[in-house]
Each structure stands twice: as C-alpha cells, then as structure tokens.
Symmetry: D3
C-alpha cells in the first residue's frame, strides 16, 4: 500500500454524518441523535474496559480482536444507513434475515475499498464472528453495544427526554444484554436499573 | 469489579456531546462540528488500517496498544473540554506546557473513575507513551490523528465550507503529519493534496 | 368512525421528524436536510399546479387522485425510514424489488391504522397506481417528485452547498424527469438547467 | 404554460425553511420547531382522512377543494413569515384585521408568480373561502389545522417538552376546534384529551 | 422596586430564542441564523467603540445614551418577532408605517413589565430618539446596526454561504450606512468593501 | 481612527459562534446552548435595569462604566473559548489563578486589535475593576451575570430540561449572587426561588 485507501476512508468519514435512526423512532430530536461514529466509539471503549477487567480476573481475552470487532460492528451503515429497526422488527424473523443479507453485501462492498484483499478478508472474518455471537470476544462486543444504549438512554433522560417514551427501548436492550451470557451482566443490569430509578425518585424526594 | 464503573462511563458518554472547538475557530457551524467521540472513532479505525498494512509489510506492530492509545488519546477533553488551540498557540511554548499539565491532571482524575488501580495505571501509561510520541505505536496514532483532520477538511469542503478559511488548519496539520516520521506519510500527503486540488479544479473544468 | 384514527395520525406525525436520507448522502448537513413531510408538501403543490395547468389546456385530469397520490407517495417511510438509495442502487435490480416489497408491506401496516377498511383499500389503490406509473395522474406526481428535487438542489446551491457534490443527484433526477413522458417536461428541464447555469455564471460576471 | 412558474416555485420552496414561530413562543427549541411546509402537509393528509370519512357517511364533500385549501392555507407565510401570534393576539380585534390584510396582499403577490391569471384567481378564491370559514370544505380544513396542532403538542410532550408550558396553546386550539362546527369534533376532542391525560398518568402509575 | 421585574426579564430572555428572520430570507440555514440577542450585543460593542473613538477626537458623545439605545433598539422583537422585512419592503411606504406602529405598541407593552413608570418612560424616550435618527447618539447606533450586518455577511461568506445570494442585503445595508451621516462612514465602507473583495480574490490568486 | 478596527471586530463576531460550555456540562443540548454574545447581551440589559433602579433610589451609579464592564466581561472567551468550569473547579484555588492568568493575557491580545492604545487601556481598566469585584459598578455586573444564569435555568426548565440535572448550577449561582453584597439581592433570590418552585408545583396542582 503506497497510497492511503481513500475510498474506504471516505466511507468511514460518512459514518460521522449518519444519525442513529433508532433514536428518532424513540422521539429524540434528530439534532440530538448521536452519529454512528459516536456510538461505535463508546462501544469500543466500553468493550476495552470489559476486556481488561476480565483479563485482570485471569480470563484470556483477545483484546485486539475485541477492538477490531467493536470498531467495525456498524460499518455497514455507511452504505445502508440505519434502516429503521422498528420496521424490521415488524417484519419478524424475515426482517432479521433481510437485515443480515443487506449488511453482508454492504460490508463486502465497503472492504473492497481497502484495495487489499488480505485485510478485507480479515475484516470480514471479524464481522462474521461478531454476527455469529459465539466467541467470548464477540459476546463482549454485543454486551458493550447494549451497555452503550442503556447509558445513552440515561443520558437522554438526564437531559429531559421522557422516561415513558424510552421505556420500550430500555426493556428491549436489557433483554439483549441478558442474552450476551456474560456472568457479570447481572451485576451491571442491577446497577443500571438502580441509576435509572434514582433518576426518577430524586424529584420525588425533592418535592 | 462486580459493578460497572459508572463514573468512568458517564465521563465517557460526555465526549459525545463535546464539539471539537477547533472547527468552530475555523468557522464550521457549531451544528456541523463533530464531537470528540466521532473524531476518536475515525482515528482508531485509521490507526487500525495503518497498523494492519504495516504488519502485512512485516513490520511488528502492537495493534492492541495502538488501539488503546487511539481510543484514549482525547479522553481528557471529557473534563477539560476542548480548550481553544488558537489561544494556546498564541501562548507559545508555555501554552503547550499548560495544556500538557491540564491534560495530565484531567486524565488522572478520569481514570480514578475506573475504580481499578491496575487498569488506571495501564491507561495512564498508554497516554504517556502517546504524549512522548516516540514508540512506533504512538507515531501511528499521531499520524491517524492528522489524517482524520485532513480527511475531515476535505469533507467540509465537499459540503461547501470555504477552502481559504480552512487553509491554515490544512497547512498546520500537513506539517504535523510530516513530523510523525512514518515513511509512508509522504505518499499519503501527495494523494490527499491531489484529492484537494481535484476538488478545486472540477468546477473550473465544468465552467 | 366516531373517533379519529390516532394510530394512523401518530404515524403521520412521525414523517415530520424523518430526514430525507438522500441529502445526507450528498453531504447536506443533517440539520439542513428537509423532512419527508416537507418534501411531500412541495410535491403536492407542484402536482396541483401541473394538474391545473393541463386542465386549462383542456386535458382531463383527476386532480383529487393526483393530490391523494402526492400526499401518500412517501407514506411508507414513516415505518421504513428513508433507506439509503445509494445502497439500493448498488444492489441493482434486486434492490428495486427489495425496496418495493418493503414499502408495500409497510403501507399495508400503516393503513391498517385507519381502522376503516374501505378507506385503507382506497389509499392502497392510489399507491399501487403511483408505483405502476402508467396513468396520467401518476406520471404527474412522478414529475412533481423530480421537480421538487431539482428545485431543492438549486436551493441548496444558493445556500452555498457545492455544485459538484450535487451533480450526480441532479443528473439522475433529470433523467427520471425525462422518463415521466410528460410533453411539457422538456420545456421545464431547459428552464431549470438555465437557472442552474445562471447560478454558476453570476459570480463570473461579477468579478 | 410552456415554462414552469419558477417564481412561484421559489416562493413555495421557501416554506421549507420558515419555522412556525408559534412554537418558539411556547419554548420549543427553534431546531425542533417544524417548518410551515411540514405543518401544511399534515393538515392536508388529516383533511383528506376527514373528507373521506364523511363521504363514507354519505356526506357530499368536494375533496379536491378541501385539498387545495389545505395545501394553500399558509402560503402567505412564504412572504410574511410567521408573524408572532402572541403579538397579534395582544392587539385584539385590530390584530386580526391587520393579519388578514397583510395575508391578503401577500397572497395576491405570490399567485402573480404563477404567471397564469386564471389559476391565480382560482387559488385566491379557495383562500377566500378558507378565510370566510363557512363552507363545509373550509370547516374541514380549519378542523384539520387545529388537529395537527393538538397532535403536534402531544408529540412535543412525548419528547419531553413541558406540559404546563404548552397548556395555553392546547386550550386555545381546543376552543378553535370546537368552533369548527363539525359534529364529530366532540368525539375527537375527548379522544385527544384522553391521550394527553394518559401521557401524564403513565409515569404516576409507574412510580 | 423590592422585587426584580420578572415579566420584563422573561421578555428579555425570549430574545435569545428568536432568530433574525432576515437571514432566513437570504438563505442562511435557520440553525446558523443568529438570535436577536447576539446581534444586539455586537451592535452595542461596536457602538461603544465608535463612541469612544469619537470622544478621543474631542467630540462630545453621551455614551450612556448610546449604549441604552443600542441595547434596546430591537427589544420590540421579543413581542413581534422579526417580521419579514422582505414583505414590509414590498408594501412600500405603508410597510414602514405599519412596522413603526407595530413596534411602538410592542415597546409600550414590554416596558410596562418593568413595573416602574419612570424607567419605562426613560426607555421609551431612548427608543423614540433612535427612531427619529437625528441625534448624534442615535446615528452612531444606526451605523453600528449596519456595521454588524456587514461584518456578519463577511462571516457567513467565510463559512461558505454564497456571495451572490447575499449581494442584495450587502448593497441595501451599505446604502443604509451611508445615510447615517457619520463622516467616518466612508472610510469604513471602503475598508469593508476591500475585505469582501479580498475574500473573493484569494481563491483566484490561489488557483 | 480612519479605518474601523477590523481585527477587533472579527474577534467580537466570533463570540456569536462560541457556545457557553457550562450548559453542555449540565446536559443542555449543544444546539440549545446560548452563545457568549447572547449571554453578554442579557447581562448588559439586566445591569442597566439594576443601575437605573438604584439611581431612582438616589444611589450614585456610573451607568456608562457598568455597561462597559457588562459588555466586555466575557470578551476573553473569543480567544480562550469557554474553558470547562467543571475542570477548573476541580483544580481548586490553582484553577482560579490559571483561569485569571489565561484571561488576562487573552484580553491584552484582544484589545491590541483596537489599534488604539488609549482605548485599549480604558477597556483593560474596566475589566480589572470587574475582576477585583469591589466597586459598586462591578458588583452590579456580577449580580447581573448571576441573575442571567438563574433566569436561563428557569427558561431551560420551562422547555423541559430536568430540574435535578440543573440543581448544582442553580445552587452554585445562588451562592454567587449572595456574595455580590447588593442589599436587594435577597429580595431577588426569594422571588426567583418562588418562580422555580411554582414551576414544579404547577403540574402537581393540575393533576
């Protein structure tokens, strides 16, 4: 590689401009909806913290793999944008399949911009492992993805967005987190539920 | 760690809301100015691509270290916000020192939120290596930091922001990139200059 | 119907919040990207003006049908959001099919919110006629859809957005307009091209 | 008409950029305040649904006329912008007269951009019928105008905007809706009040 | 006055949320359009600099009066909002009269919120002197008002907004500045024209 | 002065684009965060009202001095931007010193743009008096600075921003106001607390 892969980098930069459409469904102002880049950044840092913590407990974690997955896990949205999950959910099982197929084709197009087939294959392999959601590394990233959502819901509520409007996405994400099968997930969930309850109760105490 | 380090994560989420003040200096609308999170995301992915490319050329790169540095390199801005570089530049050498001291103290406060002293030390060590800018890993991240800026300038110009208003930051970043001492940097610079010139010439040809 | 169809109206209101994703692809700031509602409004008024003009030339036009189509033509995006056209284009013919299927299912879900099967069928019929693009009424709405895009491109350029960045969408829409098979379309195209050229030439003359 | 009426269409496009000033009075962020186009779109679709429903109950409705009125009812704001209603209200009866005169002159200027005197007269006639508010068609549009406001208030509250800040505009619009003299209006009002109360009570039940 | 005049202060705070509608007419994004407060601030500081400079040249200037006028000169817009000047201009001489009457009534309502008739009268007197535009103090404020507009046009062009779209407002304001009858105005105009030309020529030289 | 001090005026215009970073810390959307100019405008008008009221009570106030201070009190932020107060607070006493030194150097750089050393000295003297916070005039401006913050908090809460998120800044500013040593400050505080309590209680009464 004598030259930087400008096509790939242009696609990468586009993620800064694409809002996460889920938030718009849940009535976050589109001006406040974070970009895909912002989300992916938080997921990567959260995944890093989880990985390092597990390591300190003597679990073996391939941190490089975790971070590659975290950084790439929403890459396809540079091409597909953020297809309304509300709609795909309504489609049921077929929706998930459609989404998976759409994303797979998008990824294969995007990595071709790297102009480096070895690297392309490596990136695709990481994303396939993430989709399979079986390796410990992929489960860490799925957990981090859910944690970022829950933390972001707390943030939006702290701004003034309505708890009840955000309730469905909170519940859905909580259940997603539970299915990551990380044994520390229960502790987290309890802590986050606590933080959310505290948010509600504070004004009550004050009055 | 039974519970997630909520204090650290709250500080992390704040980076999504902090605009990169440099863009405001260069007259990017504050609504279009990217967040610190968005920027750090791009830096991490660019650093990943550089690292993998160097590896394929048989250079030894500690990719995990590269990514940790990239993800954390602007963490201190969660506390300090993005202090106007224009001002610090005006202060001269003292400005750099002030900035360094401010950032160091901010980082040590932020990592204390991890409630895990081993992990804190690891993060601080990565950031010190980044500041020293001597290891190959740190130079990759500095190069990625500069590349993201240059790519973002191209993006803003493609939107319609004025080339001449952005000229000083382009020149300054170009020179920063040169000082990273990565042998492929010259190739990159040529390619990016080309892309920028093409942006200008297209309308001329059209007319 | 004793009560207003709140479910349908809630879906309708959502269109005010959904940005037209195409503009984001073409580097319009997401803060400046119009909503689906805003676009559909212009399409309806343009279609009204075309219809009335054709009528004054003694053509028979079912204006009610034209307006119903225009008002409903992007209704499905309330559920599907605005799937990146860039992506569907990349998928080729399959992309169009996928889009059509997704939209059809979305529409049938949305009209069920009317809680009035006769009205639902009427709306679906209008939308099918629009998709078929054969009746004079549907061709008027397709032309109005293209005209609004071209006029909006001119607006964005007048703000300062770059002509060259918008060139591909201009060309594509121009060709869409030609395929509407309205005999006055050629006159329009000439006039709009003129307006766009004038935009470019003005500064040249001024200098 | 050999050429499209560009002057009229430019005025039409401007409505996409004009925020509804009423919302700013009631402390909706100006970034979240909808455009005049967005509002007019909803009014037209709501008016369409009302008309079709009345038809199914064997009432005769000139739907074409309803939609023309709905699409044009705020056209004058392209020229006058959205003069603060708070102020005109304060002026009392004189305020309404001033507003009416200002709008009439604006409309006559705007339709001259159609370069087609027959069509101009038709549009002016529709708008006069709307102002007179006597024909069933005009009353449907006035009702739709009020309904869109009430639905939008619910939307803003669902986002997190304060109920009490929006109370005065809710009450005022409710009374406007009652004066439309549509026999189904009472049913609607009850249903909307219910939806609004539910919004308030949900958190109470939750706690 | 034992209590702060909250009614007046609430009206004052509203000016922070009211965009200057003139910019929207000239196709500045409504997100970038400054508030009435922002504009009035600049006018006050510019008026202060002019006053002090004249003083240093031994002219007698009542700086307190200048600043009171500058701070209050757009106060009425808190109630009237920023009525489209484009429209009032179209109304001709009657437009100016309507505007003057509307503003006078708004001001008298606003100052009543001070709950202090002496202070109210003082404020009204300052605003009348400003409208009369005869005293040296009022002419300084009118000049500052025009200068802020010209400087803001330069700012918007530096961002990337189109020169040609802003040409009419530039010309109109230049002529307004000339009519302020301040002998230093010619020097200013020359300097500002120079700055604007330089903006245009820079890219030319570069190419 | 034959020419306007363009360098100074460019620095002045920049204040319109710089958001008050404090609000971002307290989770106000950066799109809703007011500019430094907007804030300074309100401070100046509030200081004017306080001054005039004291005068009517036969206190001697140099209103010109008050307004000069109010207009210039945040001028340095044009260069330094709004350094995160949260951070400086964390630094403790050293933080205040660092801030003071940074601001002093920024001011001396900014006033050099006036190209008029007499005027520069005058402006610097006003700002030093403001920092010393001893003269009655400076205490009026400090009180106005605090009052604008409290009034703005009420505004944000009326929009829907959370009371509890804003509690720390309310308390801190209240205590700042108390330390201004203006005998009418206690009355104000009571009135503002009342207004804030009413905001909370209204919905309770309503239910």
């Amino acid at each position: 590689m004598r030259l930087i892969p400008l096509t790939f980098f242009d696609d990468l930069m586009r993620l800064k401009r694409i809002p996460r459409s889920g938030w718009i469904t849940y009535r976050i102002s589109r001006h406040d909806a974070e970009s895909v880049s912002s989300h992916s950044y938080s997921v990567a840092v959260i995944a890093l913290v989880i990985s390092e913590t597990l390591r300190l407990r003597n679990r073996k974690v391939d941190v490089e793999e975790v971070l590659r997955m975290a950084l790439l896990h929403d890459l396809s949205e540079s091409l597909t944008f953020d297809i309304s999950k509300a709609y795909l959910r309504y489609l049921g099982r077929i929706g998930s399949k459609v989404k998976a197929r759409i994303e797979r084709r998008a990824v294969s197009h995007l990595v071709s911009g790297l102009e480096n087939s070895k690297l392309s294959r490596k990136f695709v392999r990481s994303l396939e492992e993430y989709s399979a959601a079986k390796s410990p590394e992929s489960r860490i990233v799925h957990a981090a993805d859910a944690l970022d959502l829950l933390l972001q819901i707390l943030e939006y509520q702290r701004m003034g967005y309505r708890k009840t409007t955000l309730d469905p996405i909170w519940r859905e994400t909580k259940s997603k987190l539970k299915h990551c099968n990380l044994d520390i997930a229960n502790d987290w969930m309890r802590r986050l539920e606590q933080a959310r309850r505290k948010l509600d109760s504070t004004p009550r105490r004050k009055r």
